[in-house]
């Protein structure tokens, strides 16, 4: 019965949609900034999964190459974001979203 079932690209798209949604809800619900960053990483991973699924479905390697650029953007985002979190923590002694209500220097 299992052998009759075939994994189509839609399965991967639905899985990626679920991962993306969990990440988006994590960004909206959590207030610890570091966990919000991890949720953003989840969303980026869901997009990567979509790219790879389309590369497989369309038989084109360009989809896999685009994942590299997503990886680069994710790495740069994490580096700058964590530096911002460290700077905020030094100034406010806390790293939740409530510490960022006042955006003065």
């Amino acid at each position: 019965m299992i052998a009759a079932l075939e994994i189509t690209p839609s399965y991967y798209l639905i899985l990626a949609a679920a991962l993306f949604t969990i990440g988006a809800v994590g960004v909206l619900v959590r207030r610890n900034v570091i966990v919000m960053f991890m949720s953003v990483e989840l969303m980026l991973n869901a997009v990567n999964l979509t790219f790879v699924a389309f590369a497989k479905a369309l038989n084109d390697t360009a989809g896999q190459v685009l994942v590299f650029f997503t990886l680069v953007v994710a790495a740069a985002e994490v580096a700058v974001g964590l530096a911002i979190i460290v700077a905020i923590f030094r100034r406010r002694r806390g790293a939740t979203a409530d510490d960022l209500r006042v955006l003065e220097g």
């Binding site: 949609a17 679920a18 949604t21 969990i22 959590r30 790879v52 497989k56 190459v65 650029f69 530096a83």
Partner: protein
Amino acid sequence: MTVVLFFAFGALALTGALGVVLSRNPVHSALWLVLTLVSVAVLFLIQDAQLLAAVQVIVYAGAIVVLFLFVIMLLGVDRREVLTEHLRFQRPIAVALGALILAEVLLLAGHTWATGAKTASGVPIQGGGDFGNNIQRVARVLFTDFLWPFQLTAVLLVIAVVGSVALAKRSGERPEGPQVDTRDARATTEGESVP
């Protein structure tokens, strides 16, 4: 085989994602994130993206999660967060918006018009002449069709490195030296007084 792997590691990826969002301790969130990343790497592997699976484990699980854990340990923010909300109805609205996003994306995933047509001129993943293995195919596309974006990522990484150094640098703040100095002084005086 592929079916079993897809459902097993898809379920593991969803479990890890829920663990990231639901666990109270940021360190536990980071460890759940590793589970999701490795599961997605396995999903890459069964989709003929061997290089990306290796890069996923090395870069994400190896470097980015370690960076997260490093900042968590450095700042000492691994205490439980307060769950009282300052904004009323923020959490139910967030969950409702998440359900809306899920409905939208599932609607898009169910339609084939979003996928477009198969390309005629790209480098195929399998077959199609002597393009070599997965790494050689990815390299051929990366260094021919995507050469200009590849150069731009170098600029982006330089900007990110300079920006993070400039942000994390202590500028115009008093260094936290005196605490360390007093502790050292006390230790030396104790060490001198004991004998």
